[in-house]
Symmetry: C2
Subunit: 131 residues, 2 copies
Amino acid sequence: MKGLHLIGDLYNCAPGDFLNSAKRLRKLCLDACQASGLTVLGEHFYQFDGFDATQVGGATGAVVLAESHLAIHTWPERNQATLDVYVCNVTADNSAKAEALYDTLIAALKPADILAQHVWRGKDLPVAKAA
Amino acid sequence: MKGLHLIGDLYNCAPGDFLNSAKRLRKLCLDACQASGLTVLGEHFYQFDGFDATQVGGATGAVVLAESHLAIHTWPERNQATLDVYVCNVTADNSAKAEALYDTLIAALKPADILAQHVWRGKDLPVAKAA
């Protein structure tokens, strides 16, 4: 279960388009997974209503991959989104595919600012005992 | 989109039960989300076949929450699993609910060893510029 988890908190994204449409966001994600060589097992996306009649609602979704998962949540009223791409490297090193998927989604959402955290998951030896 | 992301890489879990059944793992996750006061918008779980006839297959899934997401992947042949619970605190502090969900799933999977990483998502000011 060792693997790479790419975490992106995205600020000042390109307005509209993918941020306010679960339908478009879903297609973007599924196409990007396929283009990156990752295997989609299933997904669920959801369209939020806006907080009031003046706002569009955000979109949220998760894609279950054979290699682990992709999760994305958007706040169009702030032009923000969060992105998670996690791949396990059990039978092959899928890190390059994860980076490709992450980069494709960043290129589509066009954030001016990114708070990125790359987390390496799993260790050869556990470092903490459960209580 | 500031929030808490609980990452757990779980070693030496209780064999069988939830690790090798997407059906049981799904019910565990959905019940735990509800018990923690989180709002399930949808989910997808998938049952893997074993690598060969001597092995049972793992389970994998993601739950899309109004507050963000839960993702879980298991390797019953190693008694391992990975767990992600991410909640945003946009309209309320959902951290306690995330901790409750995480604790419930840990109690069910019974790992002897946990590699835990608690990642605080989002900042008041972005710290990195996109290229």
